[in-house]
Every structure is written in structure tokens, then in C-alpha cells.
Amino acid sequence: MRYTTTVVVGAGHCGLAMSRCLAERSVDHVVLERAAVANAWRTQRWDSLRLLTPNWMTRLPGFAYRGDDPDGYLGAPEVVRLLEDYAAKCAAPVLTDTTVTAVQPDGHGYVVRTDRGSWRARTVVVATGATEVAAVPTRLSEQVPAVVTAMTALDYRNPDQLPRGGVLVVGASASGIQIADELRRSGRPVTLAVGEHVRMPRTYRGRDVLWWMDASGLLDERYDDVPDLVRARNLPSMQLIGSPQRATVDLNTLRRLGVRVVGRFAGVRDGMAQFSGSLANVCALADLKLGRLLDSIDAWADGAGVDAEWPERFAPTAPTATVPLSMRLNEIETIVWATGFRPNVSWLQAGVFDRKGRIVHDGGVTASPGLYLMGWPFLRRRKSTLIDGAAADARELADHLVGHLDTLARRRAS
């Protein structure tokens, strides 16, 4: 049994940001990593994927991008290199190839079991991310015959990996639209099943749309200020792609490319995949929501006197007269589930879960004293899942953690 004050689980950007903040506060800690720093970026990203956030937004505690392409988007190998460099620069105490198998409350702290021995710590920060496993709707996937090759957005690498022939991409968030775009360009017939989604132009009034969201304070909106936190935490990811051309990929561009856009994948009956008839409404919802976002950006730009190009409005998502409500499954060689992700914290044996198996937390602070979370959707602010969101969350949670350690110390003293 080894001892430390804080165990951070996971050496991605969140765990490293927290490590830096703990070091700044002289909190003795260790970062346990099942494989290597930035493991998900080494093993769970498709070849062409780039960050959705521009380089100037790649900020971590004590680090800001200083390269010559501030408006570009890092590819996965570059993210790996950046996080490796950051870990080295911070001298983060990372133990690689160490898989946490259990975290259990014990007295005034926790026992952390790993495949390389156990640790006792006063506090634990869970920084394994909210996107560790693909969230595939079992009820639907069970209906798809085994002859159809199935993969998730985490398994997908490039078009060559797929059999020739038709593809059904389920889900139209960032992953789904990017994969549909790439597979269509590989010459395959692609059908994209679309439920609720968040439409987003890559650039607006001559700037990256995330510049506007960052500068206007929208990304800093706090979890305790947002009117409907449940909805905010469950929003699908923005339809964005990081590309050298700063291209916008949305349902209109995909349609022009020849992607068949259909409603939400609803089930299989008589050898036919069935799609919801709600496509027009989910498109209307997304268009209206985008309009409200652009209105708020314009209002902020006026007030702040930002020098930018004139406001513009984007064409509505074009309705097509004949949206197919079903297609024969034998037209589909491959189904790609781009239906979102979920965390995997099965090793966490603390009473912090709700009846749906989700960790209950207040801005990353759980009800189990000394147990913290990082990197979950809208954890403390809208940008909590972005690399740029780690710094502020890590600082605040590190402050809370130090406060908890002080409380423990006072209790021991009295």
C-alpha cells in the first residue's frame, strides 16, 4: 500500500490540468493512467480527425498555443505530442500502464486498487472522461442482423476499413456528420439518420464560430446559472469539423454531396430499417436554435463594438419532398453508430450514483467527500468538455479539494 494525498485517475488533458493545479497548491499527488498519456487520442480517434477547437483555444493551466497557425486545428498525433510535452513541462507525476480496478471510500479517504498495487489517498479526482465508451442504443442494435458490419465512432478509422457498399450512419452530431462526409467522398452510398442535433457554421462574420462563443462569454456560462441544466448537459455535440479549409459540414452540404438524409433510426421491421417522420421538426429546431445563437452573437458584437464582417443568416435546412421512411437492410453493408459516448466508471465503488447509474455531482463535487469529477458535459461551464474548459474547472475543483483537506486537518487537530 502506497500513500498520497490525491489520486488523479486518467492522464488526458483534464487529469494533467488538475495535476498542474494540485502541484501549484503543493498537494502531493499521483496521476494513474491505464496506458500512456493522451491514450484516447492514440487509440480511439479516426485518422482524419482534428480538434473541433482552433489552436489558439488550446489552452491549459500554464500553457497557451504559440505556434504559427493559431486558426488551424490539431490532428490526433499533434494532440498526443502536445499533451506529452505538457506532462513533461509540468513534471506531472504520471504512472503509466497502471489500470485502476477499484476506488472505495475508506475512513477519511479512499483506497485505490490498481493492477500494480494499491494506494491510499485522502482525495480522488476522476478524470477518465465522459467519452470512454460508445453509447449504442441496445434496443436498436439488437434488431440489426449480424450480416451488417457494425462499428462505432470509436472503432472507425478510415473508409478503407469498411466493405464496399452502402453505409448507414446513425447520428448527426460532430462524429456522425464527419464520418458520413468522409464515407460519401469515398464513393459509398451513405444514408445519415438524423435526430436532434446542434447545427453550427464553422465560421461566422469572418471568424471561427468558437471565437464568438468564447469572446462573448457564452462558453463561460456556468452550470449554476443555466436555466435548464439537465437539457444543457444532454445536448448533442455541435456539428463542427476541424479542417484546413475551415469548412462547414451540415445537412445541406451533406445532401449536396449525395448523402441521403433521413429521420432518426427507429427500428427494423420486415427487413426494413425504419426512420422517424420527425426529420422536418428536428431540422426546424436546429435552425431556430442557430438563429437565436447568431442573434445573441450579433447583439453582443454591437455592444462590444467588434470589428467584423456583416451579419449573415444561413439557408434553412432544405426540406426534401421525399424523405424515405425506410430502406431495405440489404442495401446496407455497414452501420456506423455515431450515437454518442458515455463514461466508464464501473471501478468506482462509492455511493454517488443515481438510479440510472450516473454520478450525481454539483459542478464536479460529489456527495462523497474528497471525490471529484472532471471533463463531463457542462460540469461547471459550457466549455467543460473542451480542452480549453479544463483550466478553470481544475482551478476551482483544486481549490475545493484544498478546502476539504484543510477541513480534514482541522478535524484531526481538534
Binding site: 436532434e196 422517424s276 420527425s278 421538426n281 429546431l285 438563429g291
Partner: protein, 184 residues
């Protein structure tokens, strides 16, 4: 946003309270709806709804509601009531309109008038068995709303969109539902 001066006849506080209470008590949220139908004659049938269960108890409507279903004279019937397909349109319109009132109230929007037309295209060769390639149901449904309210066009469109997002009958019509029919 102030809702204090808004009166669309919807008790939004009760709905929001129910949302919060039922999120924590999923058993109580399980409702069970029932309708009873009796054949009268020809294509004429009479359906009544009276009792249902939910919130962990049995309930009854204030009175027994009756729906006459029949086919029109052009189908060689006696036209004692709406066709069942038209009753589906009525159900969709009622559901979406109720949702519009609730969403508008929640968003502090005073409604002055809400009307809609619901139209469906239907190729009856399907139900007649005249062409096996034609489905029995509608080819599509078109709902057109006319709304007079204290809100911008975009806000009204957003209310109508949100109503669809939260509508039971819209979901029932746009997504597959398992239907099991058996005989005693």
C-alpha cells in the same frame, strides 16, 4: 421573462412540479390508457373512454366520452361519424395545440388565437387491397398553424417546434409503435 401577466389557461406551475416530482418517481409516471369499442352496424362503431390509471392510482374522466366512427357515403357507408383516420388527425391537432398552449405559457407568451388545419394524403388502394405496393396509412400529414400571439415569428415557430418535440401523438405517428391484437 415574466409569466405573471400571462393567462393561456394552462397551469404551468403544476406541470413543472409534476416534471420534477415524476423525474424522481418513475413508477408514478407510468400511465395506462384504455378505450372500449363496440361494433354498432356496418362500418359504424362506438368507442368510449372513461377510466385510466396513473400516479399509482385508478382515475376516471369527469364523464364518459364517446367517439362515433364510421365511413362516409362515398364508401357506401352511412356516415354516423368521422372516419378512424380523421380521428387520428383530430388527435394530432389536439395534442400539438395543447402543447403550444403549455409551451407558450412556460415561455411567457400570451396567445390570442391558435388555429390549425391538418391534412393527410391517403391512397385508399392500400386498404382496399387494390395495389399491394400502396401502404394502408397516410402518405404524409401536413399541419398548418395560424397563431396570433405577443411574440416574434421566430418565437412562435420555436413554440410550435417545441410542441412537436414533446407531443405524444406526434411521436406515435412519426415513430413505429408495437401493436399487439389478440382475441378472447
Amino acid at each position: 421573462m415574466s409569466t405573471s401577466l400571462i393567462d393561456n389557461g394552462v397551469n404551468v406551475e403544476a406541470l413543472l412540479g409534476a416534471r420534477e416530482a415524476l423525474a424522481a418517481a418513475p413508477e408514478a409516471a407510468q400511465f395506462h390508457w384504455r378505450a372500449r369499442c363496440e361494433w354498432v352496424n356496418g362500418t359504424h362503431s362506438r368507442t368510449t373512454v372513461h377510466d385510466f390509471s396513473g400516479l399509482g392510482a385508478e382515475h376516471t374522466h369527469r364523464e364518459r366520452f364517446t367517439f362515433e366512427g364510421d365511413h362516409p357515403e362515398v364508401f357506401a357507408s352511412e356516415d354516423h361519424g368521422a372516419t378512424p383516420a380523421e380521428i387520428v388527425l383530430a388527435a394530432l391537432a389536439s395534442c400539438l395545440t395543447a402543447g403550444i398552449a403549455a409551451v407558450a405559457t412556460n415561455r411567457g407568451v400570451q396567445l390570442r388565437s391558435v388555429t390549425c388545419t391538418v391534412e393527410a394524403d391517403h391512397d385508399v388502394r392500400g386498404i382496399l387491397g387494390a395495389d399491394p405496393d400502396v401502404r394502408n396509412g397516410f402518405n404524409g400529414v401536413l399541419v398548418h398553424y395560424t397563431i396570433d400571439a405577443d411574440a416574434s415569428r421566430e418565437d412562435i415557430e420555436a413554440i410550435v417546434a417545441q410542441s412537436q418535440k414533446r407531443s405524444a401523438v406526434y411521436d406515435i405517428l412519426t415513430n413505429p409503435t408495437a401493436v399487439t391484437v389478440d382475441v378472447n
